[in-house]
Amino acid sequence: MDINLSNEDLEFRDEVRSFFEENKIKQGEDYFAWREGWFKKAREKGGWDVPKWPAKFGGPGWTPTQHYIWEQETAQVNLPFDLPFGLGMLAPILMNYGSEEQQERFLPDIRDRKVNWCQGYSEPGAGSDLANLKTKAVLSEDGTYYTVNGSKIWTTLAHMADWIFCLTRTDDSGIKQQGITFLLFPMKQEGIEVKPIITLGGSHTVNTVHFTDVKVPVENRIGEEGKGWTYAKGLLEHERTGLAGLSKSLVELEQLKDKASTVQRGNGNLMDDASYKSKIGELEIDLLATEFTELRSLASAASGGEPGPESSILKLKGTEIKQRIQKLTVEASGIYASAWGDKGVGPSFAKGGTAGYLNSRYFTIYGGASEVQKDIVAKKVLGLTTGKSK
């Protein structure tokens, strides 16, 4: 056992740092021009524009330690914004289950950030019980296209998306996990209606999406008809064992401590307040532990093994930690926690703090609510069954 980074890893870290330093946005520089240039240069580094993609598809093919270093370093800087739907969610499915033709057709635009994707999974009647979905896709008699009817909900950024990857029901005769088909189609077309849902934080991020007789050519189907659940599930597991954003949380926690120490309390500041300080301490200790849980999980993946049981707790712990940071930010705001809207009053960090906290409540709901995650750990890791009367 050894906690040291190897010389190669240290060199890699320096290389990442200097790349970030050299390619920082300059004062007065146009954001989108900078963003485009940044990804181009990252690509020239050997796939740094798609760090998580395998080498076979143009990714850098890093070791788990290098991925960890990358995550730590990116947490310290402002990278150009990116969305996970195409790059992190659809791309692995295309790589694993898509045809070569589909890979050639879709992956380059995803990589170039040219096409925005959204994810059509959840439905009004299918939340954490995702397989219960009812959006119907009927194959035409000549077998050339599907006709899609139904509704999706909680569709993040559907109002800005060019395409959707969508789970549809093509057969409801078997168990609910069977008969699900994975389709890709453009969002800007007749028969698709997107309606905003305003969440507690007052923002428009998620939507309902209604499909009325949307025609989708069969060549836009991933893999076989009826096997969509298998493809999507592989991804969900990938999502669960993925990095839990802990490096970012560590940086945010340090920022929170700085903020709290500017809040006066008597002769001292909020960081001298025993109960507040304890909450910050417990949060940081949980983070230190979870960070190592993540490293252990990366290490077992690196030695070629399946992700160990410890990986199953990363989403549970990681999301809870993020929520606690938001909660403590609101607490630090004191009386200004109740101010709403863009006009900031009180300390600068109070602005939007409560909205951020309210928005953070979905962290333990999306991608399978925490309770569902616990059901999965109970079943997969502890070997416990549910509801089988003896």
Binding site: D2, I3, E282, I285, A289, D375, A378, L382, K388
Partner: protein, 375 residues
């Protein structure tokens, strides 16, 4: 960066695991604990012969040149059987202090005997008023020619009943709570003026209150420099925290696994208990706390091996989490075992008691949270 044990460490891990499985069922443990001296002399000798007592000492000291990771490997397995043999008192505490501050003559006379299991040494540091503050030392050592004269009282001294020698933490200058002015001495347990009041602890181990009345000790028995003993004490306490935390992690593993097994067998309302989601989620929480403790244990241990001063904050973090989570896992195991959980018949209650004791030693959960946030 890697989390793999060496081949040697893996072999030791397996051999300790086997030892615990073969010798430490509950009946045997209760029997050994209830008879004097509270552990098995036969097992202690076996541990010495297997080389376990010398793992964390250097080769010059008669050991095998290992470090805190080797101790972790041993203690985690010990935790799975609540091993009674006084490894912590002798090797981590007494031996740890001598290793760090003993003169060549003391090292030579004590360490090889300790490693062979022929001599026992413990550490007397706590006092009634000190609670968890290791710098709060009232027991005084007054210089008198070539000797020091020790007066005072030490509390909760582990395994003192069997100790041949005691490393005693004294005040040689400064005020009662100064880090400077603390000196450590090695004294014979049978010295004139030493009185031991022995008693069992909640977890079936042994401890003593020790009174020192005009106890004479030659100045050559100083462990470390006069007045500069605090840094040795702190390093030894940190090692003890790592060792106890490893034991706690082993104990927590047994508790969550026993609970998973029991709830699958026990039927109520026509279902195995494990069918009930509310119990499943409690067990998932137990499992998660165990894994988190294990992660932080590895982190604190690896950081200590790398740089013990920089690791101090993580060691505080570890003892906080171990205390809090250990008790959570213990209480949950008892709760999920229902009435059986509160009997002496099942081993889980004994594991729970050990975790309670571990929280009360070397600073409890709140104490270390406070230290953590102050650093």
């Amino acid at each position: 960066m890697n989390f793999e044990l060496s081949e040697e460490q893996k072999m030791i891990q397996q051999s300790v695991e086997r030892f615990v499985q073969e010798n430490y069922d509950l009946t045997n443990r209760v029997k050994i604990s209830s008879e004097d001296p509270g552990y098995s002399q036969e097992y202690w000798t076996a541990m010495a012969e297997l080389g376990w007592l010398g793992l964390a000492f250097s080769e010059e000291e008669g050991g095998f040149g290992g470090n805190q990771i080797d101790t972790l490997v041993l203690m985690e397995q010990f935790g799975k059987g609540l091993v009674l043999e006084p490894f912590l008192a002798n090797i981590v505490l007494g031996g740890g202090a001598i290793k760090r501050g003993g003169s060549p003559a003391i090292k030579e006379s004590v360490l090889p005997n300790l490693i062979e299991g022929n001599l026992q040494v413990t550490l007397a540091y706590a006092e009634e008023q000190s609670r968890f503050d290791i710098e709060d030392v009232a027991t005084a050592a007054r210089e008198d020619g070539s000797n020091f004269i020790i007066n005072g009282k030490k509390s909760m001294v582990l395994n003192a009943e069997s100790a041949d020698k005691i490393v005693v933490v004294t005040r040689t200058s400064g005020s009662q709570v100064d880090e400077d002015g603390i000196s450590l001495f090695l004294v014979d347990a049978t010295s004139k003026g030493i009185e031991r009041e022995n008693f069992p602890t909640v977890d079936g181990l042994r401890a003593s209150e020790i009174t020192f009345t005009d106890v004479e000790v030659p100045s050559g028995n100083l462990i470390g420099e006069k007045d500069r003993g605090f840094s040795i004490l702190q390093a030894v306490v940190n090692d003890a925290i790592l060792a106890l935390s490893a034991e706690a992690v082993g104990a927590m593993e047994v508790l969550y696994k026993d609970t998973v097994e029991y709830t699958q067998q026990r039927e109520q309302f026509d279902h195995p208990l494990s069918d009930f989601q509310v119990l499943q989620h409690r067990m998932v929480d137990m499992f998660m706390e165990y894994e988190q403790c294990k992660s932080l244990l590895l982190r604190a241990t690896m950081e200590t091996v790398q740089d013990p001063i920089l690791a101090q904050r993580t060691v505080h973090a570890l003892k906080h989490l171990i205390g809090k989570s250990g008790i959570f896992v213990g209480e949950s195991a008892v709760q999920l075992h229902g009435g059986m959980g509160v009997t002496e018949e099942l081993r889980i209650g004994h594991f729970f008691k050990r975790l309670l004791v571990i929280d009360s030693q070397f600073g409890n959960s709140d104490f270390h949270l406070d230290k953590f946030t102050s650093l």
